[in-house]
């Protein structure tokens, strides 16, 4: 197809807005026509995802209009809120203070400046190599060796999940496969669509089919995840024309995205449980569940990014 970047974007985005609007109306209509407690619970699940969909769509439209730097800023804020939530869940000691200060006020800005500047060689190793070495040094400085390894590991995990992994989403927008120059944001939109919709489809299919609930997430069932994942993969294949991939390549990329997205969610749910899941007070809506909203993204973003770089960017 010979659509310009703007035209393709508006076509996809317009379709998306219609879809979410239809879903919102449907959920609203269902909510006013059911008194069944079980249905109400899954409607709430669905509604929170629809709202997240609106928010992501809005942020993305703003980011797209303002350019790739704005996209980096938006994801940097997401990283900040995710790491903030991670730290709030983790027991920390005064001796960890310096390492955490570095994590929040140095690592997040540096990582996203590197991403926005497209310095792939550096941001691919900045956290997994340099911070991996620097943080234990900083924390050893205080000579507090009580639970040293656990404490270091928690800071490193927090940074890897909420900064390194999440930052690979805006990095997708900076990619320029041959014949696809300047269309990076569209590839990011494609990736986000596949990840988010596989989650939404899985919740919807689980709610309507039920059967065996997943241990990691009681809101989803095995059958629901399989069907939802397949639907998202097929959608990802059908949208091949907005990517640099051919249809079968899009099929494989979408499969990789859906599978890693699901596994990432499973790992994050285990992380949260091992930290001791905590009931947030009501009214903590803005920050509550940032990690949960990003869980599909954490594992799949670096994988999608790397597969694209490895196979499509010479």
């Amino acid at each position: 197809m010979n659509l310009t970047l703007q035209q393709t974007f508006f076509a996809v985005f317009g379709g998306l807005v219609l879809l979410v609007a239809a879903a919102s109306l449907l959920a609203y209509w269902l909510a006013t026509h059911t008194a069944d407690a079980v249905k109400t619970t899954w409607l709430n699940q669905l509604n929170s995802r629809i709202q997240a969909g609106w928010l992501i769509g809005l942020l993305f439209a703003v980011g797209f209009a303002l350019g790739e730097t704005a996209l980096s800023v938006i994801f940097a804020l997401a990283s900040f809120f995710a790491l903030r939530e991670f730290v709030a869940l983790t027991p920390i000691k005064p001796a960890d203070h310096t390492a955490l200060i570095i994590a929040f006020y140095v690592v997040i800005p540096v990582q996203y400046v590197l991403v926005a500047g497209g310095w792939y060689q550096f941001y691919a190793v900045f956290i997994p190599v340099y911070l991996f070495l620097v943080l234990p040094m900083v924390m050893a400085w205080r000579l507090d060796t009580e639970l040293y390894l656990q404490r270091v590991a928690k800071v490193q995990w927090g940074l890897m999940l909420s900064v390194f992994c999440v930052s690979h989403a805006p990095a997708i927008a900076t990619l320029e496969p041959p014949g696809y120059e300047g269309r990076g944001p569209l590839l990011l939109l494609y990736y986000l669509l596949v990840v988010q919709l596989s989650d939404v489809f899985a919740v919807m299919a689980s709610a309507s089919l039920g059967r065996t609930p997943l241990l990691s997430n009681p809101n989803k069932s095995r059958e629901g995840v399989l069907i939802g994942g397949t639907a998202a993969t097929l959608l990802g294949t059908a949208l091949w024309w907005m990517t640099p991939f051919s249809w079968w390549q899009a099929l494989l990329m979408a499969t990789a995205t859906v599978v890693t997205g699901f596994l990432g969610g499973m790992v994050l749910s285990s992380v949260k449980r091992s930290l001791g899941e905590r009931q947030w007070d009501q009214g903590v809506a803005l920050s509550r569940g940032v990690l949960e909203r990003l869980e599909g993204l954490t594992f799949s973003a670096p994988v999608f990014f790397h597969l694209t770089v490895y196979f499509f960017v010479p």
């Binding site: 790491l83 903030r84 939530e85 730290v87 709030a88 005064p94 203070h97 007070d281 009501q282 903590v284």
Partner: protein, 205 residues
């Protein structure tokens, strides 16, 4: 051109919410314009700003934190925030003038109809539960029977900013407002202060 409600917030409130959340939970009372003394546990330098930022805007304008003169009454940004934003009531911990009652500025603020935020421990105790309360709260409570006494528990902040730290580690903290503390006729100072401390600790759960 304010588009988001966030833009209406003073920068200091906006910054505090970004860094440490400061989410209010009105458990035992509602955020109404009644004249009140909010008394809370004191674990870090951020407490004053955090409790103040957790109040709704219309209450903030009428509520003055009580804070140590030796820490807040300085030049630079700290003094500026204390004077212009928080409208702090300064207490002279060092007692430069031995004849002056350090509670006088607080009495004056109460007479002028302001609500107060006080930290009865008098100093920071970086631990989950508050230490012993000092007697200032008792005297104020007895002298102004019309003022509601609201216990407040600030959660999580001692982890965000341990003693000696310059910057807070971002986290999510909630500020819990309890039910007004009842005054009991003829109660001794010690038992009143113990009851006040228990009311704050009871919100820690």
């Amino acid at each position: 051109m304010p588009i988001f409600p966030v833009r209406f917030l003073p920068p200091i409130v906006w910054l505090v919410r970004l860094l440490v959340g400061a989410y209010p939970r009105w458990i035992g009372c509602a955020p109404t314009a009644t004249q009140r003394i909010y008394f809370a546990n004191h674990t870090s330098h951020m407490d004053t700003v955090v409790l103040w930022a957790a109040l709704p805007g219309e209450l903030r304008a009428n509520t003055r934190p009580v804070a140590a003169k030796d820490y807040w009454d300085r030049g630079g940004i700290r003094g500026q925030i204390a004077r212009d934003e928080l409208n702090v009531v300064m207490v002279d911990r060092a007692r430069d003038d031995p004849n002056a009652d350090p509670l006088d500025p607080l009495r004056e603020a109460l007479e002028n109809g302001f609500s107060l935020i006080i930290f009865p421990e008098g100093t920071r105790t970086p631990q989950p539960l508050p230490g012993q309360f000092r007697s200032g709260l008792f005297h104020l409570a007895m002298e102004s029977p019309g003022v509601e006494l609201i216990p407040v528990y600030i959660e999580n902040l001692h982890r965000s900013m341990p003693k000696g730290a310059l910057l807070p580690v971002p986290t999510i903290c909630t500020v819990r407002f309890g039910a007004p503390l009842a005054r009991i006729e003829g109660e001794e100072k010690e038992s009143f202060l113990q009851r006040a401390r228990d009311a704050v600790a009871g919100l820690a759960g």
